[in-house]
Symmetry: C2
């Protein structure tokens, strides 16, 4: 047999202990902050029915779904071909796939469980899978950290999800003003008005937004080229970028919103959306997201299910975003007859970790054994196990060296695993119910009663 | 479009907040105890190459693997059929699958990362997937909680993994003696000797052990029937069960081990294994697993990779086991030229939870908002956000009611979500930077400065 590859599959990663410690640190802060905002946890299965997943993310998303192959009889039947002689297709081979995001599973859950509160505030920190081309910082398995509020159109909900993610980033050390990170905000209805003003048919809106979403990656000329490739006239494409640029002018939102006040019938398209953004900015001002929120008329977001305000987080030196979200008042209604409005925000764990690693933002994370328990060959294994049990009961992390090579070899091993202390058990120590503690960094040694070891080790 | 099913797929589950809280409680204890034994965490990807997974679990395991369908061009090529006109098969459609256990990924990791310690002690708590028939307590996605020690044949390692899982169960409240739970122990080499003594060809050993593994489910007659179905003579099948029953006699291990002492050349088969079990029982006696370990000559374990001692945990009232493990000195060598011995133990999270739920073993688990912040309509949302921010900064879990229906409706909602307190913000309170706290269970009300609210809520 040829040697099996021992690497994880393309786009997948193994996390050794220091990686896990950093990931847990960040996940711990996120969960604690989300809970402080009154969100409760939800976990959904890795595998969902394809009927749940398909048609929610737009055509690009559907293509990136991982699909599970049918098994045994069902697979055999599918491979037989169809009674009419038709060829086997992808749809015949699979009806389940891997979770692509956490929002669609949430929508399914809200539709399924009648016992959930009327205003269901859930958070969810789980991996998702996308069969995308791997690149720096882009993986096929990655964690999303979502907060969502279902059941209300109140902009207080939009403000709360912004406040929750802003508090997370502030607590992680990203800074307390817009220099630290920005939350870009826009509104799908305002974008729709702009698309219309540019003379683009609204049937092309989704395509236009997918192109516009790439603005920070491919620039204005790149977006224009892609719009034209999608069949939009060059003039309209140029106009769209012009009206969006003009919307950056100070006072744009106020001027547009003023139109809404006069009369709904004659209001300029997007006036209500502009008024909502002004209100949202005002509500957010009272909380932690206040200093970070900036109106960005070019923000589009790629997913097709958004209907109102949309968000995206950027920070200096990071290409792409650390997270995004928005209002999706129609999605849950795709699973149930009730229309349930909702808004959410998703932090991308890998992006947050990337910036934190580059900037050295992690505190010291206690990890690995504090004590390696070494013994001389004359000490029986059962006696060493008993001593290790005492130390562990006192709250220490203790590795018991399994064999009894020379003490020098055991101490060397303590150094290679980074244990701060070695505890040596010989006949004298055993008789006195004591241990000789050796501090690995200095070589200092001290013999003390087993009962006193935990305090000694904790004191460093 | 017909209504989409909102249930999770067969064998999969959604975990709402109380479920997540219970799972986290148990996982937290497991992680802390495993770390106290000096194990460090590892996480591996959900998706593995099929070349990694296939051929490690035995034929039954291979059949239960979830396989991922190829995409786009690769799928199209596969569905075209082969150049020689051969039919498309399962192997043409997939080369990746979902993790089936945590042991094979560990073996791959140990083979891949040269920087790991010589005695790599890792723990891993992650879900695995098996396309098995769902049943009570059997799911297609479930969590395993593994500890393994790689790099030593010392029985101290076997004793340590037993000690770790025993400590977990003791800390969770399963009791401190064999009435609480038992760790059954046997040895694959001893089983092999028994199979041989029964006159069964060793080529049939794997099949015999798979049948024997079902003894507690289908009984002795069921095992005999299955052995015969697999092609083993009825007489040999009966003999196997007889010799295993005879091995339950007190003194069996000592008598068998005595054979090893005389001469290796003439030692009765299994003598060395019996001696190892005696040594293991002696080592374990010094630690937390001591009162729980019992020799069980009929314990077989279904997986094909075990080579030495094997373990399984049972407790009264639970059909099946709460976990199992054993020594597998050959598995890592399937991934690398170095032979690296290893031993591990896996706790099944779902089984542990099942017993704990049936017995009401959970402590109270703090969950959900402690305070619902209500406001009168004259209070602006931005002001409410500011007050919520203060309470959260003081460490409280606070839900801000998004709208401003009547106070009665807001208070009613506080009760439905189980918040112990409602905090009411009106003009008087805002002017005085205070809040009126209402205890939902008693209806008591008290107005106090915002700065004092956290202490008041924590006092209950």
């Amino acid at each position: 047999m040829s040697q099996i590859s021992t690497k994880p599959p393309s786009g997948m990663r193994d996390f050794l202990a220091p990686d896990v410690a950093r990931r847990r640190h960040v996940i711990g802060v996120i969960a604690r902050v989300y809970e402080s905002f009154g969100f409760v946890p939800l976990e959904t299965p890795t595998i969902e029915n394809l009927s749940t997943l398909l048609g929610k993310y737009g055509p690009e998303g559907d293509q990136l779904l991982y699909r599970l192959l049918h098994r045994r009889e069902r697979l055999a039947r599918a491979l037989e071909g169809k009674p009419d002689g038709g060829k086997t297709t992808e749809l015949d081979l699979s009806d389940e796939g891997l979770r692509y995001d956490l929002t669609v599973p949430l929508a399914r859950v809200v539709a399924n469980y009648g016992e959930l509160p009327a205003f269901y505030k859930r958070y969810q920190i789980q991996p998702v899978w996308r069969a995308d081309r791997p690149a720096k910082g882009r993986f096929r398995e990655f964690f999303q950290c979502d907060v969502d509020i279902c059941g209300t159109k109140s902009l207080v909900a939009d403000a709360e999800v912004c406040g929750a993610v802003a508090t997370v980033l502030r607590e992680l050390g990203f800074g307390n003003d817009a220099n630290g990170f920005q939350i870009h905000v826009n509104h799908r209805e305002l974008l729709r008005a702009m698309v219309s003003e540019a003379g683009i048919d609204l049937a092309m809106e989704g395509q236009a937004l997918i192109a516009l979403d790439k603005l920070d990656k491919i620039g204005a000329d790149g977006v224009k080229t892609e719009l034209v490739e999608k069949g939009i006239a060059a003039e309209a494409a140029a106009k769209l970028l012009d009206v969006l640029a003009a919307a950056r002018a100070p006072g744009f939102l106020a001027a547009r919103a003023a139109d809404a006040a006069s009369s709904v019938d004659v209001a300029k398209p997007g006036a209500k959306a502009a008024a909502e953004l002004i209100e949202l900015l005002a509500i957010v001002a009272g909380g932690p997201a206040g200093p970070h929120l900036v109106f960005d008329p070019t923000l589009a977001r790629g997913l097709s299910y958004y209907t109102g305000p949309i968000f995206e987080i950027t920070c200096a030196g990071l290409a792409g975003s650390m997270g995004g979200g928005g209002r999706y008042d129609g999605l849950i209604g795709m699973f149930t007859k009730r229309q349930i409005p909702a808004v959410g925000f998703s932090l991308g764990l890998e992006r947050v970790l990337l910036v934190m690693e580059e900037r050295g933002m992690f505190p010291p994370l206690g990890l690995g054994p504090q004590v390696l328990l070494c013994r001389f060959p004359e000490i029986g294994a059962a006696q060493a196990v008993a001593v290790a049990t005492q130390l562990r009961a006192a709250g220490l992390r203790v590795e018991l060296f399994a064999d009894t090579p020379s003490l020098g070899k055991q101490l060397q091993y303590a150094a290679t695993i980074g244990a701060p202390f070695a505890a040596i058990l010989g006949s004298n120590e055993l008789a006195a119910q004591s241990l000789t503690l050796k501090k690995l960094t200095t070589g200092e040694q001290k013999t003390l009663p087993i009962a006193d070891v935990a305090a000694f080790v904790r004191a460093g």
